[in-house]
């Protein structure tokens, strides 16, 4: 276990090699190094997983400590990892999906001049994410946390010559920083509450010293959740994620699927004990998650950029994950995280394939009829869409359904209803996407049309693998097989404490029929969504236009994403800049510096005034002497 460090170290080494010498290496080597690093990391992770499985479930955690990072007074933070089922799942997802995305990128980015730089960043990204999930204390987690923020900044702004790209990168970093601000404060509060940042120590201390509902714990968890809101793009800090598609498409896949955005969910799950002790925070998390799920889905309905639709779907799906965590179904949240990683990676890579084929076209209004020309892409994309829509037996069905189910079971009826509505919307917008892209008449530029080509093998193979995973990924949580719910049982040691605190109903499983019935409801809702999309976009293509005209105001709100970006710009960014400008002019220049320079000029003008007594006239000089003498004499006389 001591060798766990190689998992993040491998991609980091790849980053160093490609970052320092990549420009001088052949492209082939660059690709090999990057993919090789990720592949080896994945293999190491598998090996680790294997070793982990050898242990008895209750002993499945290791904490290899490497060295003391910071030690000041009674504060200390180690560089040390925590390997347990939860982090194992994440490691596998990150390295596995990450590896596929790397491979895909070899093809996708082949023509780009920043090839080496790209792979360096990509490796760094994976490395940071691995540090995040493997950390055994909050501070080290924060290192990875900020690290992925940095990498997202670098990768989203990868095409730095594009203004929108560099803007998006900057936005990602700054919005993340706002979240990190909360996270950091959460760390402080944690340390001064528990005297440690080590997860296991914190949890033990929390369970031992605090009762549920303690305000301090609510504070800690809410602050940490602010971080999660930033990283995992929840309301109100979701704004960066849709813009993140400015980066190369595989990057979107990486950010949206395997890494980065899942960090928040992972963190909440990791701190399940704390959250369990803070019911208010749990409720808050669930509410935010649910709201975000619906809110983002609603925006997704009308977007025309293929990646933007997917981006909003990510925001929405993350909402589901938080909903799951918020209602105490941490397993469901993580489960959805994993399946989402599969199908969202698939969808993005598929979208990338489409864009690649169309030489950069992203507007679905100008696509259509690509089914024939891009068969592999179409097939895999469809599978991804079915998965995300939650159609049995695709992976998304199991995970999403479990969240919905747990939501209802924990007594959050309203949230359940909303989430269900969100699921319908999801199905609708996903299939809107599918129909507009692959079905119907081609609306392509004529001369772009004959360039259309299917993706090369490096891109196609990852798509197929991911498609397979999107199909099968959910089966490990099937109730029936091998004692049922393998995934849940694997994670059980991690969550059992939280579950115990919550006094969860999960112990007593609800009747199977109820579960079955709810499954049916979910599937029905999803199918309804798909059907609606079919009616609107295949049967009657003019209908959306009519609707848009009829509900023009609502449409505009949706199309402009509720004007949230504009609101932020007008309410926060611009006033701040304006205030800064004004302060600089008036306070800094005029008032403060004016006072400094003013002191100087006061003395100078005093000097000018005093100089006037120097008249050059002997009489005046003598008079002054006499006056001085008089003063002296008078003073003496007064004695």
């Amino acid at each position: 276990m001591e060798t766990a460090w190689v998992i993040p170290a491998l991609p980091f080494a790849g980053f160093l090699i490609n970052g320092l010498w990549g420009r001088r290496l052949a492209k082939k080597f660059v690709g090999w190094i990057a993919c090789g690093a990720m592949g080896l990391a994945f293999l190491s992770a598998l090996r680790l997983f294997w070793i982990l499985l050898q242990e008895a479930p209750s002993l499945r955690f290791w904490e290899p400590v490497y060295y003391t990072w910071i030690r000041v007074g009674d504060f200390h933070a180690d560089v040390s990892f925590l390997i347990d089922p939860l982090s194992m799942v994440m490691i596998l997802v990150v390295t596995g999906v990450g590896f596929l995305i790397h491979v895909y990128s070899v093809g996708y980015m082949h023509e780009d001049p920043g090839y080496a730089r790209y792979f360096a960043y990509l490796n760094l990204f994976a490395s940071a994410m691995l540090v995040l999930v493997m950390a055994n204390n909050l501070l080290l987690m924060f290192v990875g946390w900020e690290g992925v923020g940095l990498c997202s900044y670098l990768l989203i702004g990868f095409w730095y010559e594009k203004r929108s790209a560099s803007d998006a990168g900057k936005k990602a970093f700054i919005v993340n920083r706002i979240g990190d601000f909360g996270f950091l404060l959460g760390i402080f509060l944690t340390f001064w509450t528990f005297g440690s940042l080590n997860f296991r120590e914190i949890f033990q201390a929390a369970v031992a010293g605090f009762s549920a509902g303690d305000a301090v714990l609510a504070g800690i968890t809410l602050l940490l959740f602010v971080g999660a809101m930033g990283k995992s793009a929840q309301i109100p800090l979701y704004v960066w994620l849709p813009d993140a598609m400015e980066g190369p498409t595989p990057v979107s896949a990486l950010i949206h699927a395997a890494t980065m955005v899942t960090a928040g969910v992972y963190m909440v799950a990791r701190c399940s004990v704390l959250y369990a002790l803070a019911p208010f925070s749990m409720g808050f998390v669930a509410m935010i998650g649910c709201t975000t799920a619906v809110f983002a889905a609603s925006i997704g309905l009308v977007q025309n950029d293929i990646k933007r639709v997917l981006a909003y779907s990510t925001v929405s799906q993350l909402g589901y994950m938080f909903l799951g965590c918020g209602v105490g179904a941490f397993v469901a949240g993580i489960f959805h995280l994993m399946t989402h990683a599969f199908f969202k990676a698939l969808l993005f890579l598929g979208a990338g394939s489409v864009i690649h084929a169309l030489s950069g076209e992203q507007d679905i209004q100008r696509m259509g009829g690509l089914r024939a020309k891009l068969p592999v892409t179409f097939a895999t994309f469809l599978m991804g869409s079915l998965a995300i829509a939650g159609i049995f037996p695709f992976a998304g069905f199991f995970s999403k359904d479990e969240i919905l189910f747990e939501t209802l079971m924990s007594g959050h009826g309203v949230l359940y209803a909303l989430a269900l509505g969100g699921a319908a919307l999801t199905a609708f917008y996903m299939f809107r996407l599918v129909f507009l892209t692959f079905f119907g008449e081609s609306r392509l530029d004529p001369h772009a049309a004959h360039h259309v080509h299917e993706a090369p093998k490096t891109m196609a193979v990852p798509l197929m693998i991911l498609a397979a995973l999107s199909l099968t990924g959910g089966w490990i949580q099937l109730p029936g097989i091998e004692g049922g719910r393998v995934f849940g049982r694997f994670l059980e040691p991690v969550f059992h404490e939280a579950t115990a605190i919550l006094g969860h109903h999960g112990a007593a499983h609800p009747p199977l029929w109820l579960e079955g019935a709810l499954m049916g409801v979910s599937v029905a809702v999803a199918l309804a969504g798909i059907f609606a999309a079919y009616r609107w976009y295949i049967k009657d293509p003019q209908r959306p236009v009519r609707m848009a005209q009829r509900f023009s105001r609502a449409y505009r709100w949706l199309f402009h994403k509720y004007y949230v970006d504009e609101l932020y710009q007008a309410a926060i960014v611009d006033p701040l800049k304006q205030a800064a400008e004004t302060t600089h002019q008036w306070v800094d220049r005029r008032l403060i510096d004016g006072a400094v320079d003013g002191t100087g000029s006061v003395f100078r003008s005093l000097s000018g005034a005093v100089r006037r007594i120097q008249t050059g006239l002997v009489h005046h000089y003598a008079l002054s002497v006499l006056a001085g003498a008089c003063l002296l004499v008078l003073f003496v006389m007064a004695l």
Partner: protein, 488 residues
């Protein structure tokens, strides 16, 4: 008095004797030397001064001579040394300007020597007759020296103003002395002190009135505000070496006399004046600095700065303690070397170009003559009181003494003043170091070699002393401390 007695008593005035004798010798030599060879007269003056300085090595007895007219103690020795160092540096400074302006004559050196004699007698004085005579000797000599460039209107004006106002102030001094005489029945300092030792003797309106006028007379010579108005005009109009001499020599001598008057003769009077002294010091340094701030002539600026320095020096007087007077002496030494140094650079600049008084004349000095520029910076920073220079040591000791005596607010005013002062010194430094014409840049070493003997003597001498006093002040502090010891 028999000849033997006179000879015996003469041991008390050896430096004054040597200096005045040198003056007479120079006058004689002058009469017999051909026109082109007047340069050697300067060498004679330097030699005589060096001898006089050397005579100080004989340990002073502390005794009074000539029926209590003069006293030869460590206090006199210290100040005499300062005065002679100043005179020596001024001699060096004078060589070139005199040659250039054709003023070269024995009288110049003789007058400086006589003036120095007068100053030394003044600080040695144990009797007010001697004090008055010393004062008048150097005053009259300096009136003449100021007016020596007869064809320059400004020199005429300066001399006229100085002689008129100087006489006016002498009148006050003299008139004050009469009242002190009336109140104490004597003009001998020790007798006075004994007389005033009696209880309540100080509350004598004659005495108070008289001492006020005496102080006014001293204040005029020291250029304390509001007695200072003559200073800039006279300093500006006088030949630059004489300005330097006036600025340092007169101050040292008059401060010496002031200390003797108020600590030896009237020790019970001055404590009552603490408040007034306080105000005098504060106003003097503030007004001096403010006036200096906007000057376009460096010479005039240095004149005002000398007023400000008089203010700082007076802070030491305010402190009214052994430490304060020690600091006063050290500061006088520091002030002498750095101020003569600054004027020396000005003279050197004047030697190289038509004018060297205006700020503009110093523009880009560092590229024309980096060596002079470095010296100018050294002296100006020293005047500004930046460590580790003599100026800092002096200021530090003065402020330290004042704080010790509880005059913290006065010291705060003083330090704020030194910031104001730093501004106008800095203006000159900036002018000097202002990058501009890079063409004529030359190497400091070769430039140093091309300095004339006089410049070299003055600048190296003043520079070395400025640095030495700044870095190893302890020896000077010890000497000053012993010197002050005799007053308490």
């Amino acid at each position: 008095m028999s000849a033997l007695t006179v000879l015996y008593e003469c041991q008390g005035i050896v430096p004054a004797l040597i200096l005045s004798a040198t003056g007479v010798v120079i006058l004689l030599l002058d009469a017999f030397s051909p026109l082109g060879r007047k340069g050697r007269l300067g060498a004679v003056a330097v030699t005589g001064t060096v001898f006089a300085l050397g005579s100080l090595a004989v340990a002073p007895s502390g005794a009074e001579f000539f029926h209590g007219m003069v006293v030869w103690d460590r206090f006199s020795v210290f100040l005499s040394a300062v005065l002679m160092v100043g005179a020596l540096l001024v001699f060096f400074l004078s060589f070139d300007p005199l040659r250039r302006s054709g003023l070269e004559c024995g009288e110049y050196y003789a007058l400086v020597l006589f003036a120095t004699t007068g100053m030394i007698l003044m600080v040695q004085a144990a009797h007010f007759i001697m004090l008055f005579l010393g004062l008048e000797i150097f005053s009259i000599a300096i009136y003449i020296l100021v007016g020596m460039p007869r064809h320059e209107k400004r020199a005429n004006e300066a001399a006229l103003k100085y002689v008129l106002l100087g006489g006016f102030a002498s009148g006050f001094l003299l008139y004050g002395l009469t009242f002190i005489y009336g109140a104490t029945g004597s003009l001998s300092m020790s007798v006075m002190a004994a007389q005033l030792g009696k209880a309540d003797a100080v509350f004598n309106s004659y005495l108070l009135f008289g001492s006020a006028l005496v102080l006014a007379g001293f204040a005029f010579k020291l250029a304390l505000v509001p007695f200072h108005l003559w200073t800039p005009d006279v300093y500006e109009g006088a030949p630059t070496p004489i300005t330097a001499y006036m600025a340092v020599g007169v101050k040292a001598a008059v401060f010496g006399a002031l200390v003797r008057t108020f600590w030896v003769a009237l020790p019970t009077v001055h404590p009552h004046w603490a408040v007034f002294f306080w105000a005098l010091a504060a106003v003097t340094m503030t007004v001096g600095n403010l006036m200096a701030l906007a000057q376009e002539s460096v010479k005039r600026m240095l004149a005002f700065s000398s007023i400000a320095h008089a203010g700082y020096l007076f802070v030491a007087v305010v402190a009214d303690s052994k430490e304060g007077l020690t600091a006063l002496l050290v500061y006088l030494l520091a002030y002498t070397v750095m101020n003569v140094g600054a004027f020396g650079v000005m003279v050197a600049v004047q030697n190289r170009q038509e004018s060297g008084e205006r700020l503009e004349d110093f523009r880009g000095l560092s590229s024309r003559s980096p060596f002079l520029a470095a010296f100018m910076a050294l002296f100006l920073f020293s005047l500004a009181g930046i460590p580790p220079t003599a100026g800092f040591v002096g200021k530090f000791m003065v402020f330290s003494a004042a704080v010790q005596s509880g005059y913290t607010w006065l010291v705060i005013i003083a330090v704020i003043n030194s910031v104001i002062a730093a501004y106008y010194y800095l203006r000159v430094v900036i002018m000097v170091y202002r990058p501009g014409e890079e063409a004529a840049a030359e190497d400091p070493a070769s430039e140093a070699a091309r300095l004339s003997a006089g410049e070299r003597g003055a600048l190296f001498g003043a520079g070395a002393l400025t640095a030495v006093v700044g870095l190893w002040p302890n020896a000077f502090w010890d000497l000053a401390r012993q010197a002050v010891h005799v007053l308490f």
